[in-house]
């Protein structure tokens, strides 16, 4: 009995130290990406190519989801607002919900599932098939040539995708609120224009999506690079990317929101 307790405490301790060690490795890896980013900035074509794979190919899911989220906001928002006789404020509700919260957060969650998992799987498979080792033996640093362009592509794509998500969401809210339900079009747009502040709302939303982009891209490239070079290892790393990114996005969103919007 006593031995079992000792063994379980020891197992717990090992898991904790393993996690801390891995976090340290991930931090050093993050630093290495910055140190070896010269190639992806000098030869920007490498990053553009990855922006196509991570950003452009994520457009469909982002645009369609944005549209539906905006449409649902339009329905739910109208239902609540009309109880208080302020259904003209629907434009404000839809726009603020999207640019402050739903745009960056939902777009980031979708981006983590669509692009983050693909980045991890690609780098993990390159490792499993010795392509990264081959690159090293050809005197080409895989962090500079493979990892950094994918990282920066994710960081640059994320704010753009979040902006498109919000724009499509506003359009979806407009379709449902104005065209379907019949909210006054002038009030919908003018109240939105009057109440959405560029610095407070839009810029803060962009900052959020940029931070989420860094988090997702970092986790995705790290998990791929650190994946065990087997089919099972790559599959596990891909799952970890989606799960860890999603939790990290939600936690970071809470922290950022606490700093940005303090009810002032």
């Amino acid at each position: 009995m006593f031995t079992k307790i000792i063994a379980s405490i020891r197992g717990l301790g090992r898991r904790v130290t393993d996690r801390i060690w891995r976090l340290g490795f991930a931090s050093r890896f993050f630093l290495a990406i910055f140190l070896h980013s010269g190639t992806s900035l000098r030869r920007f074509g490498l990053t553009i190519r990855e922006i196509y794979f991570t950003g452009v190919l994520s457009l469909i899911i982002i645009l369609v989801s944005g549209m539906f989220v905006g449409m649902v906001l339009g329905l739910q928002g109208y239902d609540t607002l009309q109880r208080y006789g302020s259904s003209e404020a629907l434009g404000i509700l839809v726009a603020l919900s999207l640019v402050r919260e739903l745009g960056p957060v939902v777009a980031a969650l979708l981006f983590a599932s669509r692009a983050g998992s693909a980045i991890t799987a690609e780098i993990g498979l390159m490792k499993a098939t010795e392509q990264l080792s081959a690159m090293e033996m050809m005197a080409v640093n895989p962090i500079a040539r493979v990892v950094a362009p994918r990282f920066w592509a994710g960081v640059l794509s994320m704010p753009l995708l979040a902006a498109l998500f919000s724009a499509m969401g506003v359009f979806g809210g407009y379709l449902v609120g104005v065209k379907l339900i019949g909210v006054d079009e002038g009030s919908f747009w003018s109240q939105m224009q009057a109440s959405v502040d560029f610095r407070e709302d839009i810029l803060n939303g962009v900052i959020k999506s940029f931070v989420f982009g860094v988090i997702i891209s970092w986790i995705a490239v790290f998990e791929g690079y650190d994946a065990e070079p087997t089919a099972e290892g790559v599959s596990g790393a891909t799952t970890r990317t989606v799960v860890t990114s999603s939790l990290a996005i939600l936690a970071a969103d809470f922290i950022l929101t606490a700093f940005m919007f303090r009810g002032a």
């Binding site: 390159m126 098939t129 080792s133 081959a134 033996m137 050809m138 005197a139």
Partner: protein, 271 residues
């Protein structure tokens, strides 16, 4: 005055954590030679290649290539040395998102400022040397195993290296591809005036092309000699290996408790 060897391995030992993989290895390999490192799986052959390429650091001893001690080099010097090395990985390790042409051109584009036209000519020359000029437009997924290996060989010699390393170049090839790859290793080495190290356990094919053989067992060199000496060797391990005998110094049975005890007394627990 004796000629300095291109590759010198001196009293080399290496361990993963506390598990020794190589112990007291010594080798000298000269330019123009094709040398095989043979031994059963897990004996430390591939580890030796990784130490040569600077992907691992020795526990003790050293590896020197072209007069430079590999593990003492900084990143820049190591990368400069690697530009003069070529390596063929076991399954080619071609970049799957690039065509055959782009794979072979990869190092030229990364390390030189050559104009596109010249790179084009060089790539076709390299592919022609391995007999695959006609597949330059294909993707790696469209190649057979043997063709992928030959394209990887063309990529490995893209910058005319002084040292070419081959990790199991014959694994999984049909007899024709096997013979072609074997001949290519020899002819390319002679044409480039390079030095080739072939890690393999394909005895018959490699003995046809190599100048010298090192036999590694349990991390130590247990025999060495020319192909002829190895064929005629009476050393039990070498004899078993060369002639593919099922039992010998490397036993057929993995060490275990006596058979009778295991059958009569051990009842495995079913979970």
């Amino acid at each position: 005055m004796p000629v300095e060897p291109l590759v010198k391995i001196s009293n080399l030992s290496f361990a993963y954590d506390n598990r020794p993989v190589l112990t007291g290895i010594n080798m000298e390999i000269h330019r123009g030679k094709v040398v095989a490192i043979m031994g059963s799986s897990g004996c430390g052959k591939t580890t030796t290649l990784r130490l040569l390429g600077g992907q691992l650091k020795p526990t003790s001893g050293y590896v020197s290539v072209g007069g430079q001690v590999v593990h003492e080099l900084g990143d820049d010097a190591l990368y400069a040395l690697r530009r003069r090395m070529g390596m063929l990985f076991q399954f080619g390790a071609l970049f799957t998102d690039m065509s055959v042409y782009d794979n072979v051109a990869f190092q030229m584009r990364e390390h030189t400022d050559l104009p596109d036209q010249l790179i084009h000519d060089l790539v076709l020359m390299k592919l022609n040397a391995v007999g695959l000029r006609g597949v330059h437009h294909l993707m790696p997924s469209e190649l057979s195993g043997g063709m992928a290996r030959r394209v990887a060989l063309a990529r490995a010699i893209a910058l005319d290296p002084m040292l070419i390393m081959y990790d199991e170049p014959f694994a999984g090839l049909d007899p024709i591809s096997l013979s072609i790859v074997g001949q290519l290793i020899r002819t390319l080495n002679d044409a480039l005036g390079a030095c080739s190290i072939v890690v393999t356990h394909d005895v018959q094919e490699s003995l046809k092309i190599v100048d010298y053989v090192y036999f590694v067992s349990e991390g130590k060199i247990v025999a060495e000699g020319t192909a002829e000496e190895i064929r005629n060797s009476k050393a039990p391990y070498v004899h078993q290996f060369v002639w593919g005998e099922a039992d010998g110094p490397v036993p057929f049975q993995y060490p275990a408790r006596p058979y009778g005890d295991a059958i009569l007394r051990e009842v495995p627990r079913v979970h």
